[in-house]
């Protein structure tokens, strides 16, 4: 399941050079709950249709209405669309944050603002071009009713940006037509608002400005999707039938999407009956319990959650490990500790997931880097969980999960069949003299299980308490150890079945960089920038834990390794130190954990500083 990622062409990374055509960043500052998100999304989507690699990052508050929210669009013709740290164009729609927003525009950049009211002269920079559009006035003249005026103001600034950035108006019109299919009045008013801004901009500014988009050859193998939707699709395609969850940002949209897809694909058109069952549980302890119960009974089952949910699942994750029950958990990570910043991104649950629960416990982890991998690794998660009869946690994060990504198109091989692992059916049970749950291990130290409702001969007793190979209760050291020792071997064995790491080697590389998940794109961009500066570095991104030979080999071949990750405590580095033979002094850390998606500049700065270069 190798993925063609964008940004594989050389020379595309931003390097402080003033960006121009198909290579710039826009930041839009809005107020939460005013409907700006759909306007911003419209712009991003239109650029994507023009064949231009683009990303949209929503930096939203943990609030429903009234607090500041930002949307960042980065356009980069070679596909490096990780977050930028400097903006060419700022759209300042929030008076509250205006002063801070204006500081973030690069010298020589642009600021689009609502010129219905005069601009505070204190906030004017003379190295920035001001594009004033009388949005409120235009909208108030053209529309009636507070509700419509608020909404249409967003569409009006979008219209101005269409002109300023050279976005294809036809594509925008198409998008509006699609979005408001069957709602002619809404489409019409949106179209009208859009034109207000568009026409004003064309008339008053030199359009497009130097930072603008131009049509590119369409990337046919790319699509626009967020990680949670893609992960949900993975669960559907893997054949998951039972899901349990408790709402929590940023994982909620995963289960929403799963439900939606099931409504579409899993409802018998004749009977109206569903081939799935989603339980909104009373809490996360219940969610994981439901998943374990369903998996125990033979269904593919999963839950999605975030950090606090993982904490609450600790006890039952340990039970799943020890009683050897498959389970799939998607942890869409947010900023911890505790409630932390629920709408900010981090990779702070790596250790908590790897060793979740008291006692000697180890789990299998998967680390997708984008929506495409969310899809693929979600499928893989079920195969691994059933193959190794244990909980598998996929660690996504808010950036991957909730933002729309331009990502390799999801593809499916219709010959795929689930790996259900070692499950004995009635016939197989017939053939053996006696069934013992934890005996008769295969080369991967997996023992066969049976499902309730199949045959009395397969009946056994599942317990989280000490048990023998036969499944009987025990308090005897040898008998207890026989089982937990096999579990340790089984976990190690799973390394062979994990997805291979992503590796990029460079001629003459002095050192290596190891990273994980959503850092991928920013790190690869950083490595290209560094290469341009004469620092060649090899690249590895882990995709699963336990780590396999390819990871160990890479670590072994480099005397110096930078581990780039988004948490304070260097959790990936810790896991590498504990779970591979790498000497720990080879590993240096690049830690970025303020809560915003990683940008290449963060990585470049840190590595340059550490190399004294």
């Amino acid at each position: 399941m190798a993925v063609t990622l964008p940004g594989t062409e050389a020379g595309g990374a931003a390097d402080g050079v003033a960006p121009r055509v198909n290579d710039f960043a826009v930041k839009l500052a809005n107020v939460n709950g005013t409907g700006s998100s759909s306007a911003n999304n419209l712009l991003m989507r239109a650029m994507f249709r023009m064949g231009v690699p683009v990303s949209g990052k929503n930096l939203f508050p943990s609030n429903i209405q009234g607090l500041p929210t930002w949307y960042e669009i980065r356009v980069n013709k070679t596909g490096f669309v990780a977050r930028a740290r400097e903006y060419d164009v700022m759209v300042a729609m929030n008076a509250q944050t205006y002063a801070a927003d204006i500081r973030e525009v690069r010298s020589g950049g642009f600021l689009l603002y609502d010129s219905s009211w005069p601009l505070d002269q204190l906030l004017v920079r003379n190295d920035v071009t001001y594009l004033g559009v009388p949005l409120a006035r235009m909208v108030n003249e053209a529309f009636r009713g507070a509700r419509e005026r608020i909404l249409m103001k967003n569409i009006a600034y979008a219209g101005a940006l269409v002109a300023v950035l050279g976005i294809d108006m036809e594509i925008i019109s198409d998008l509006l037509t699609e979005r408001f299919a069957g709602k002619e009045k809404l489409r019409e008013s949106n179209q009208r608002a859009l034109r207000l801004g568009y026409d004003y901009a064309l008339e008053h500014f030199e359009c497009p400005i130097d930072c603008h988009v131009e049509r590119m050859e369409k990337y046919d193998d790319l699509m626009l999707i967020d990680g949670n939707t893609a992960a949900a699709l993975g669960c559907v395609y893997a054949g998951a039938t039972v899901a349990a969850w408790y709402p929590i940002t940023p994982s909620t949209s995963l289960m929403d999407a799963f439900t939606r897809f099931c409504e579409r694909y899993r409802r018998d058109p004749e009977t109206g009956r569903n081939d799935y069952l989603v339980v909104q549980a009373e809490d996360e302890l219940a969610s994981i319990g439901i998943v374990l119960g369903a998996s125990w009974a033979g269904a593919r089952a999963f839950t999605s959650t975030s950090g606090p949910g993982i904490s609450l699942m600790n006890e039952l994750l340990g039970m799943g490990y020890y009683a050897e029950i498959p389970a799939v958990i998607v942890d869409v990570q947010r900023v911890g500790p505790s409630t932390g910043m629920p709408t900010r991104t981090q990779q702070g649950d790596i250790l908590a997931c790897a060793y979740a629960s008291h006692g000697d416990t180890k789990h299998i982890l998967l680390f997708p880097c984008n929506p495409t991998e969310c899809f693929e690794l979600a499928v893989k998660a079920f195969d691994l969980a059933e193959r190794f009869q244990t909980p598998v946690i996929m660690l996504s994060d808010l950036d991957i999960g909730m933002n729309d990504w331009v990502t390799p198109t999801l593809t499916w091989d219709d010959s795929y069949r689930p790996d259900r692992g070692r499950v004995l059916g009635a016939d197989e049970l017939e053939d053996i003299s006696v069934f013992h749950r934890y005996d008769n291990e295969d080369a991967d130290f997996v023992t066969p299980r049976t499902l309730p409702g199949v045959s009395e001969k397969g009946a056994y007793f599942t317990r989280g308490s000490g048990h023998t190979r036969e499944g009987a209760y025990t308090e005897t050291p040898d008998e207890y150890q026989a089982v937990v020792d096999r579990l340790a071997h089984k976990h190690r064995s799973a390394a062979r079945a994990m997805p291979e790491p992503a590796i990029e080697l460079r001629e003459g590389a002095r050192a290596g960089v190891v990273t994980v998940g959503g850092c991928d794109l920013a790190v690869r961009e950083a490595l290209q920038i560094l290469e341009q500066r004469g620092i060649a570095l090899d690249f590895l991104r882990v995709r699963g834990f336990p780590f396999g030979p390819a990871v160990e080999d890479f670590l072994d071949k480099h005397d110096l390794l930078f581990v780039v990750e988004q948490n304070r405590d260097a959790q990936l580095r810790s896991l590498l130190v504990l779970e591979t033979p790498v000497p720990k002094d080879r590993l240096r850390s690049v830690l970025v954990y303020g809560g915003y998606p990683l940008s290449a500049a963060d990585v470049v700065d840190s590595i340059t500083a550490q190399l004294g270069a």
Binding site: R49, T241, F261, R266, T271, L451
Partner: protein, 349 residues
């Protein structure tokens, strides 16, 4: 449904049910509970009920939390899959099992600590979900396995205690059920097999969640102040392990609660509990009347037994979810996967 006819309970051990199975076929491993523990009597009643209903053992899924009560899932239906899970978490696990395979006869066994302390939230929501299962609450008023702390349930022997006793208001599973939308609520006594067996049978036939609260005396930790061999006494008088280390052999308490009337039953420590059956003509379908009746009995210091409340109308989990009649585990993968062609239609361009 509402009225339960008491059958004769004696059956020769070798008698066969409609499946040709004997009671022995519904038994399980040897109990490791204390001799005389009420939980063992409940197990026996359950064996009996399952045998009478001739449920195929392999179609049973028996689940529990942790506690002396939790262990009993090992002591019946050896032909069934069992799951001794974590303390208080049986309800969600049972929900998952039933969600995956609706054809299973799901039996959950729990204790008063398991259900009413650590598991209270889950039990409340299980009631809301109306999961089709038999839920047996083996209620002894104490934490047996951790050696006799007070639990949140009504102190079983409370009527006999003069003066001060457990000072916290008890949580009554039946009243809880009435407030949380439970659809089948019954109470019985471990020592009254004649009453218990038919209640278990009706519970197993119920459309949704059937909660059976069974008063089940703990012979070892009979927590009554005033009783010199009680745990509380032990604690207060600082006689160390000596007392709880020794579990005197006791016979299980048996009693028959008359169909119309009350019976005083003497517990191991000499305390007495007054059981009363619901009277003839009692209407278990009138929620408000049932609540009032239960509260009155409580005020009189009586433990009301029998089928207390039933409502066959509300849909169970699967009906609410409108899930396929076929168990989800049986649906072939081909029907579950939308396929490559469909995937190409997903996602924006």
């Amino acid at each position: 449904m509402p009225s339960i006819v008491k059958p004769s309970v004696t059956h020769p051990a070798a008698a066969q049910n409609s499946r040709g199975l004997t009671q022995r076929d519904y038994e399980g491993a040897m109990s490791t509970l204390c001799a005389g523990c009420g939980h063992d009597s409940i197990t026996a009643a359950l064996v009996h009920a399952l045998w009478e209903l001739a449920i195929p053992p392999h179609m049973i899924a028996k689940l529990s939390g942790i506690g002396c009560s939790g262990k009993t899932t090992a002591y019946f239906a050896r032909g069934a899959h069992g799951f001794n899970s974590a303390h208080g978490r049986m309800p969600p696990i049972a929900t998952g099992a039933s969600a995956a395979n609706r054809d299973l006869t799901v039996i959950g066994i729990s204790g008063d600590g398991d259900s009413l302390s650590i598991g209270l939230g889950h039990l409340g929501h299980l009631m809301r979900r109306n999961l089709r299962m038999l839920y047996v609450l083996e209620n002894n008023g104490v934490y047996g396995l951790t050696k006799g702390q007070f639990s949140a349930s009504a102190d079983v022997g409370s009527t006999a205690k003069g003066g001060a006793s457990n000072r916290l208001a008890p949580i009554d599973a039946m009243l809880l059920g009435l407030s949380a939308g439970a659809t089948f609520l019954a109470r019985s006594f471990s020592g009254d097999k004649e009453q218990l067996v038919p209640i278990l049978k009706s519970a197993l036939a119920h459309r949704g969640l059937a909660v059976v609260d069974v008063i089940s005396p703990c012979v070892t930790f009979n927590d009554h102040e005033g009783s010199t061999k009680s745990y509380l006494f032990t604690r207060q008088h600082e006689v160390r392990v000596t007392e709880t280390d020794f579990v005197p052999p006791e016979p299980a308490i048996e009693a028959t609660i008359p169909e119309n009337g009350a019976a005083w039953v003497v517990m191991h420590d000499g305390a007495t509990v007054r059981f009363r059956s619901v009277p003839a003509g009692y209407d278990p379908t009138d929620r408000a009347a049932v609540t009032a009746y239960l509260q009155e009995a409580l005020a009189r210091g009586e433990v009301l037994t029998g089928l207390l409340y039933v409502d066959e109308a509300p849909p169970d989990l699967h009906e609410t979810a409108n899930s396929s009649r076929e168990p989800l585990v049986s649906i072939p993968y081909e029907r579950l996967c939308p396929g490559a062609a469909e995937l190409s239609r997903v996602g924006a361009r």
